[in-house]
């Protein structure tokens, strides 16, 4: 009934990501598509505006590699470890070049995606009261309730990335996508973006999706490309498939401290490899086995057949 959008990461990035685009690789600790970040570095995109609630190691790699000139975010750091050295060098010392920033709170970022997804000109939120954040971000503006002059909110504008990359456990080849575990803002960013690349651990038959339609988070109708990339979130995790590789997060703290060691890492692990499959092979099976969780099945429900 619907056409296949199956492609490779290489082709998806080549065809859909342009220099100067606003790109969002989302995923809140869960489902962060490092494989897409690496391919964007490999294809040496430039002047990107990177949007993400929580810029972490993947954006430190991309910004350290020089693909971006601006960052839109709400929290930056190496979760549970510390700082993003490459990002800080650029913000604090314009080293090697300056990085423009536009910052919100978490809820502000989520609501920007919500407004983008829902085609709303603004989204109201009860935040930023008596905070200095609006003083450094003029896009966050106060508004009074039309029902009560004493009731004030702030509003944020829609954020519609040119490209959103959403990682998920599974999708069919039309892009009907199912996610379990932490949802982050995967649904909102997908509906908000002009172009959507869905990256999954497994392509499944449409019938698997149709057996549990309430599990579908993103319909193929908004998806432009579907890429099957096992372990595509490493060192982040995919619920039920593999664990976060915390050793890598700790190691990155050391790697990113100097631009030289960061560049060496990029040469070996990104530019030195043709694609994510080679990255997976380079780590070796034993490594991936060590990250596999035990089983925790969801159980089944019955939708009932009404014929």
């Amino acid at each position: 009934m619907s056409e296949s959008k199956l492609t490779t990461m290489q082709d998806a990035v080549r065809e859909l990501v342009r220099d100067g685009d606003t790109v969002a690789i989302e995923g809140f600790t869960h489902l962060i598509c490092f494989a897409a970040g690496h391919e964007i570095i490999r294809q040496r995109r430039r002047d990107l505006t990177l949007a993400r609630m929580t810029p972490d190691v993947v954006y430190d790699q991309m910004i350290g590699a020089g693909v971006a000139s601006k960052l839109i975010f709400s929290w930056m750091g190496n979760p549970g470890v510390g700082n993003l050295h490459a990002v800080r060098r650029r913000i604090e010392h314009a080293d090697p070049e300056p990085l423009e920033i536009e910052e919100y709170s978490h809820f502000g970022m989520v609501c920007r995606y919500m407004a983008g997804a829902a085609n709303l000109p603004f989204f109201p939120i009860r935040s930023y009261y008596e905070s200095d954040i609006p003083t450094v971000n003029p896009k966050i503006v106060p508004m009074t309730s039309p029902y009560d002059d004493a009731d004030k909110v702030y509003v944020v504008p829609p954020l519609r990335p040119d490209v959103a990359v959403v990682h998920a456990q599974r999708a069919d080849d039309a892009g009907d996508t199912q996610i379990w575990g932490l949802m982050g803002c995967q649904k909102e960013v997908a509906f908000a973006a002009r172009k959507v690349i869905v990256v999954v651990e497994e392509i499944v038959d449409e019938s698997v999706i149709r057996r549990d339609p309430n599990r579908t988070v993103i319909p193929g109708a908004v998806v432009d490309a579907v890429v099957e990339e096992p372990f595509g979130c490493h060192p982040s995790f995919t619920q039920g498939y593999y664990d976060r590789d915390n050793r890598f997060y700790l190691e990155w703290d050391r790697i990113a401290k100097q631009q030289a060691t960061l560049d060496a890492w990029l040469d070996e692990w990104v530019h030195g490899l043709a694609n994510h499959r080679e990255y997976v092979e380079k780590f070796g099976d034993a490594h991936w086995d060590s990250l596999r969780p035990g089983p925790a099945p969801s159980g089944e429900v019955d939708y009932g057949r009404y014929a």
Partner: protein
């Protein structure tokens, strides 16, 4: 009206369904109603629009009903569909965001610009007949890229002045319509039991395009509350093909619930 009553080998409903389905060529995301629209969409999926996705305002995307749904919330719509979502998301992320290519509307009253009344006959405060209200119609009229109206035609339903405007149609001023910035801009076609209509780009007014076999222009005129603009190339509505009739009668409505 029964087949016998037309004496043409098909019923008026079957003609309306076939005529409507042909308007769905190349459409992908279709907002479906119950009754005739449901059969129209299923027919289009089997003929002019194999990629057509059935979307229901109840929150179902990519439905594959195994039986004729009794309402837009029939359980057969959820089972086996591609996605089931909350109504907020359906209206916000799908309809308001412009993902719906075509939708169906009807009403108790329509005027020459395709404005529709599904709210009240008579005065709002002292209604002669209280109708269901908007439901999703007001949003659908604004956001669906194409809106197809299927109605029985009569003096009391095709009116010069609506008692209440529930869903906006064309304003009559194309400059104004363009400036609206909506995804849609009023109905694109009207199919009745007597004729089919389109809307004039310049005036935004309903234009008689075809009369159904055996129906005269006078008959059409006699069943509407204004003097209709008639297309220069006024023609006859093509009757349903044998294949269309077979699909309707054998697959889509074997009990003839909506088509006899």
């Amino acid at each position: 009206m029964s087949e016998a009553a037309t004496g043409l080998g098909y019923s008026k409903s079957e003609l309306m369904i076939a005529a409507s389905a042909r308007l769905l060529g190349g459409v992908s995301n279709c907002f479906v109603g119950v009754g005739l629209p449901n059969i129209v969409c299923n027919l289009a999926q089997r003929t002019v629009s194999p990629r057509l996705q059935l979307v229901y305002e109840s929150g179902v995307f990519g439905a594959r009903p195994e039986r004729l749904p009794l309402s837009i919330g029939d359980p057969t719509l959820a089972t086996g569909s591609t996605a089931v979502t909350s109504m907020f998301e359906l209206f916000a992320f799908y309809l308001q965001a412009g993902l719906i290519d075509v939708a169906f509307l009807g009403g108790a009253q329509i005027d020459r610009h395709g404005n529709l009344n599904t709210t009240v006959i008579g005065d709002y405060e002292h209604p002669k007949v209280r109708l269901p209200g908007s439901g999703g119609a007001c949003e659908i009229a604004i956001h669906a890229r194409k809106v197809l109206v299927i109605m029985r035609q009569a003096q009391r339903s095709f009116v010069d002045r609506l008692d209440f405007r529930t869903s906006p149609g064309h304003s009559g001023d194309p400059a104004h319509d363009a400036a609206r910035g909506w995804h849609g801009s009023g109905p694109t076609n009207v199919v009745t039991d007597l004729a089919t209509y389109a809307f004039d780009d310049a005036s935004g007014e309903m234009v008689l395009r075809t009369t159904h076999p055996g129906v005269t222009v006078d008959e059409v005129r006699a069943n509407m509350g204004w003097k209709p603009v008639i297309a220069d190339d006024l023609g006859e509505t093509p009757p349903p093909s044998d294949e269309e009739l077979r699909l309707i009668r054998e697959e889509l409505d074997p009990e003839g619930v909506y088509t006899s």
